[in-house]
Amino acid sequence: MQTEESSTEALIDSTPMVEFAGVCKSLGNRKILDQLTFNVKRGETFVIIGYSGTGKSVTLRNLIGLMRPDEGSIRVAGEEITTMSNKELEVMRRKFGVLFQSGALIAWLDLFQNVELPLLEHTKMSRRKRTEIVQQKLELVNLWQDKDKFPAEISGGMKKRAGLARAIALDPELVLYDEPSSGLDPVIAYEIDKLINRLRDQLKMTQIVVTHDMESAYTIASRIGMFYQGGMLQIGTPDEIRTSEIEEVQHFITGGREGAVSRRSTTAIMKGRSPTFSARLEAGRGVEAAEPSGDAAPTIMELEPESSPIDPENKP
């Protein structure tokens, strides 16, 4: 009996919670996501790092179904969400908790009501039960004493913590965080990190975290994916990323102190230029973890970045 149970559990565990395969998305005239491919296993905390304004938030928005990709497939718990109707999406989203970059609290509700909102909308709990859960979640983020305050009356960091309390109010299977620690003082940022780890260890939640903060990334990540020019340049454990030999990755994680990034890439980063799949392949010479195999790939990978005549705007 015992073994049977654990074997079915293992079976479920083996399907990834989230699968991106060849996802492309253009906004305006720019291709923000270009053949983005990665998996997130059940129960792990997957951290996405990458330069500002490159498309990490867009990645999350595609995952939640707020945006639909132009190409490719996104599966959540094995179910394809890119082709779901709005009704099906609504059902699917109950498995999600999302912490938005700015907290996204409803302005005319106080913190208590904000956290209570998902319970009120989606469950038939008694008022007492709701209060109990709201208290538990708000205490988790150290905001119970501020429960009567309105979003306009609290700091950015408090908004974010309240947003987190709301995101986990319904104990979701999958929690997405868009920069949970930006705008927080180091102590509270660390509190959030510990909270994320606790959610993983105690509640077995699968979590995807977008962050700029490498310290926090190393603390919470099961695996880290470096987002670069529309896709994952490298995916690996914190140690693998720390010791990465890819210059772009070193450049990012050391804050530009190490890893001379080719002039072409730096310009592209600064100008926020269109990312291209080929340029990314080139940067990731020989890193196969993140890359789908493409026909043009091998020849491009042999090119030296400096001598590359490839215009980032044009794919060969």
Binding site: I64, L66, F96, V98, F100, A104, A107, W108, H122
Partner: protein, 260 residues
């Protein structure tokens, strides 16, 4: 073709209409969202009462003064009561109240929803599987539709009172005379018609405000644009609708008179 302005306007109009219908479809959520609804009725109605009354009082006074000057030339100043009541009940009351509400409520409603949109609150609702049309738009639209006609009643009464005041004090029309003619200014049907017009204006202005808010993009600039567009479009739309409705009403009345 993509940026052809007419096409954008048509798309906007289509979106507004669909939003209006969708929001009305969620009217069965009104009880569940009664708190939001009451809040909106308070913001739209109670808080606009003073400015609406002040505005209508002066409109009534100016109107009485101007018509009084003309009537005086024919020695018919006591007729002001009739003109004021008929104009107030059928035209000035509903439309001027709509005008005040668009300026005071419509613009801020668009800005509020627009801010929610740009600060990801609308997205957050969607992610929580809470339909933003039911949660945000419906209470505002229904609140608007309820309070518009109610404010019109107050506005019209105050407007007529303003007219009576001017007629009495400045034109020297005895109150009795004023009231005698005032009674003939409007029949019950006219009153219902005025309220129906007010309802139509309220739904239009509310839908335009909410649609502009929901379609906001581009940060603070976008919020400003949404608010401005709301005022321009809602005013144009209501003044145009007013003309159509008045023409229609006249036609119907003449038809009915012909049959009888």
């Amino acid at each position: 073709m993509k940026d052809f302005i007419g096409l954008r306007a048509i798309r906007g109009a289509g979106y507004t209409l669909l939003l209006l219908l969708e929001a009305l479809g969620y009217i069965n959520h009104a009880w569940k969202r009664r708190r939001a609804l009451f809040t909106q009725m308070h913001v739209i109605g109670t808080q606009s009462l003073a400015i609406t009354c002040f505005f209508m009082l002066l409109v009534g006074m100016v109107f009485a003064l101007q018509t009084g000057i003309e009537f005086a030339r024919f020695g018919q100043t006591s007729l002001v009561g009739l003109v004021i009541v008929s104009a107030m009940v059928r035209e000035l009351g509903p439309w001027m109240t709509a005008f005040v509400l668009i300026a005071r409520v419509g613009s801020s409603m668009a800005a509020e929803i627009g801010t929610m949109k740009t600060s990801e609150e609308i997205d957050a609702l969607e992610v929580m599987s809470i339909n933003p049309v039911s949660f945000v738009v419906m209470p505002r639209l229904i609140g608007y539709a309820i309070m518009g006609p109610i404010l019109t009643i107050f506005g019209t009464l105050v407007g007529v009172a303003g007219g009576a005041l001017v007629a009495n004090v400045q034109l020297g029309v005895p109150l009795d005379d004023f009231l005698r003619f005032a009674e003939r200014g409007a029949e019950p049907l006219d009153i219902y018609w005025g309220l129906l017009k007010s309802l139509v204006f309220s739904l239009c202005a509310g839908a335009v405000a909410c649609a502009n808010g929901m379609r906001t993009s581009g940060g603070a600039v976008g919020v400003g644009r949404a608010s401005r567009n709301t005022v321009v479009v809602a005013l144009t739309l209501t003044v145009f609708l007013n003309y159509l409705l008045t023409s229609f009403y006249r036609m119907v009345k003449r038809l009915v008179a012909g049959i009888l």
